[in-house]
């Protein structure tokens, strides 16, 4: 293969990748996740399609079973709530009252079946409060599994 054909091949590859990104990536990225309200409004039309839902984890809704790795919680956008079921451990920053985006499918009549959880963090950065727990400690408590319900 000459240098020119190699470069042409490489160039074509980049063009195809760019076209793919612009076509599917941007369109998909523009509606990166749905809010619980939007999901509710869609009703059955959204069922059994793979999609992303984003919102805040409702405080008190998080349940974790260490034996089965089953994680259930509710996501809210302040108006509607969506129940989510997930198997596996969530990312470190995932916690009640924090933002999260879940990927999975909606089962009609049931909870949203999540195959992946992503934690969303804010653009605020600050040291731990004076007298409060150290960053290391906070980090530890985030990683620690939630207590199982008696």
């Amino acid at each position: 293969m000459t240098k020119k054909t190699k470069l042409l091949l490489g160039g074509a590859l980049i063009m195809v990748a760019l076209a793919y990104l612009i076509n599917s990536g941007i369109r998909e990225a523009a509606v990166y996740y749905m809010t619980p309200s939007e999901l509710k409004a869609k009703g059955d039309a959204a069922s059994d399609r793979s999609l992303r839902v984003g919102g805040m984890v409702v405080p008190g809704s998080l349940h974790w079973e260490p034996q089965t790795l089953k994680l259930t919680f509710r996501l809210t956008d302040g108006k509607e709530e969506v129940a989510v079921e997930h198997t596996g451990s969530p990312p470190d920053l995932f916690k009640e009252g924090a933002g999260a985006v879940v990927e999975g499918r909606c089962v009609s009549g049931g909870a949203f079946q999540s195959s992946m959880i992503m934690a969303k963090h804010s653009e605020e950065y600050k040291p731990p409060e004076k007298g409060g727990a150290s960053a290391e400690h906070i980090h530890r408590t985030l990683v620690q599994p939630q207590r199982t319900q008696p």
Binding site: L7, G11, I14, G54, L93, S122, E123, P127
Partner: protein, 232 residues
Amino acid sequence: MVQGAMIGRGCERALGILTVIGLVIGLYIAFVYAPADAVQGEVQRLMYLHVPLILISYLAFFVVFVASILYLWRRDRQYDAIAHSSVEIGVLFTALSIAVGSIWGRPTWGVWWTWDARLTTTAILLLMFLGYLMLRALVDDPSRGATFCAVLGIIGFLDIPIIHMSVVWWRTLHQPASMLRPGPSTVALNMQVALYANLVAFGLLYAYLLIKRLQIERAREELLRLQMELLG
């Protein structure tokens, strides 16, 4: 003439030393002076690499944008050399910033990569300027290659405002801007110091690399000219 060259070399050397000092101070401030983040802990220190790298690559592509316009207008090879050199550094910095961002994303978000608007538009930026470098190598006629690349360089730069606004226009996993934003910064003061120190250090590194890269370009043209002279 000779004296001017010596002064130039002295300045270049001073810039090189300043860059090394800046990077060492930047590292010290990032690891020792700045506190760990309350929510993310130590891993948040990756911000002091991730943010300066991408901001300096914006600067590099802005230089490409201006130099490309000047080349199309004046047709001076010097502007083309600046654009070409700046693209190479910009591509390096963008790729590094994406790599660091990915390493930061895994422990915080839980994923190495996701197709949200911020990440997708940044990937497009990297691909466009990789295409620029390929196009440069592909076109045999240097002046035609320079013209094509100048057009691509201008178009490529236009992606940067889109990247910047992506977190405002669309829903993303990536958090909104904490520095280039209206209103007060959302970053604690001593963390801002670490960001700005590293921004300056990487700015110096960019300037130094650009000077070095332009020297290579000049040497290459000199070599071509000598070859032409010898071969007739």
